[in-house]
Amino acid sequence: MIHFLKRAIADILSNKFLNLITIITISLSILMVSVFLLFFENAGRVIESWNQGGRAMIYLKDDFNADKLPQLKAQINSLGDIDEIVYISKEKALDTLKKSMASQTTFLTTIKKNPLPDALEIKIRSHNNLKEVQTLAQNIKAIDIVEDIEYGQGWLGKFLKIFNLFKITGYAMCGFFFLMALFITANTVRLAFYSRKIEVDIMRLVGATETFIKAPFYIEGLIQGFAGGVLGLGALLTTYTMVSSGITQSLAFYVYFDIQFLSFKMVMLIIFSSTFLGWFGCYLSLKQIFT
């Protein structure tokens, strides 16, 4: 193994320019893909915060009383993947309203009857698919005692549609960059192979097996992919560090969160994918050459 690693490094150094171009191409592709992923991760968090983690409010009809609560909870639980159900009585709701409005609540003392309805606040476990949430909401609304259900269906639906459009475009672009990097890696290996054809022919004549001949090329592909991934992420991290503080400050009025860098899991996934890409490009080339 050490022999193959030494050989691969020696081969990379003997063909610096070609390998550098490949690593830069991979790193640019990884950079583009990572930018999309950074955007989606942060946008996902924004939506999550706006969506309050999939919360919905169920407003109940006037003839509801607390005795019906256990049966209603069981009915709602049976309709979908509900994390928790919190009952908010109309009295509690009024108290909360008074507290939240503080000094501007004098008009509330003049009201003879509490105008707020009894409500249930539910947390939906899987809420990323708007259609599922819509179906669940419709089913809940169909229960007799339920007056209405509110889950931000208007603006959130529209936003999610735009976001999903971005997401599809992003995936397509990621795929495109991935393929581009794959073909360039495959091509580099092919060029490297042909530039070493005499060497490979001699190796065959002195009794080298195909594995012995191919191994340094595979290691070269892995090194290229890994280096490209690290370089691409490094470029993204540098740009993120320089730009993110400025963006957070200027958006402070509109959004109440920090733009975060990619999660550790995502960074590992990108580096693994990039390394795999290097290997796969090599595999495609060698398969073609050796058949």
Binding site: H3, I198, E199, I202, M203, L205, V206, G207, A208, T209
Partner: protein, 222 residues
Amino acid sequence: MIRLFNVSKRFGGKLALKNITLDIEQGEFIFISGPSGAGKSTLMKILYLDENIFEGQVLIDGMNLSRISASKLPFLRRRFGIIFQDFKLIPTRTVYENIALVLEAAGKKPSFIKKKVMQVLRSTGMRKKAKAFPLTLSGGEQQRVAVARAVVGEPSIILADEPTGSLDPTSARAILDFLMEYHKKGTTILIASHDLHLMKNTIQGRNIELNAGRIISNDIML
């Protein structure tokens, strides 16, 4: 050890070898002579399957070369030490690395490789050139490296295609003396050369003379 039955080889419409039938025993010193185009190199290449067999059968230690699989081919080639007419040294690797390649390909341990390579470098007088690249060496030196590479794996058969073709008489003699030493140890040696005069003055063995792809004589040289 090596048996050929009615072996023919065709390049396009031209037959390079015609019905060659031959037996070579373990430890023999075979000299394959003949003019250019007689089929000497083709015969050598067929033995290590650098050329496919068109017709006939070739057996090496009982192994039928017509039926050998691609995965077993490297193991067949490891039985041979091959000295090529054009040396076939890798220009981007040092003398040491070129010789070590044979043992690395055979999966030998680094400590063993180092010991063996240094040993053959000493015996071929190339120790001081271990770190040199082939293109910085003279023709004679390159040929000595090629010989060192051929013998480092201690093959049972050495095939040498025109090993003295581009050398001055002194260097040529030195190469032949070196091969004779291996022959004395029991290695089978096949040398293809058009220089019959040099061989006759140096070697005791069997001369197989080819002309236009046919064996025209098969005599013991004394």
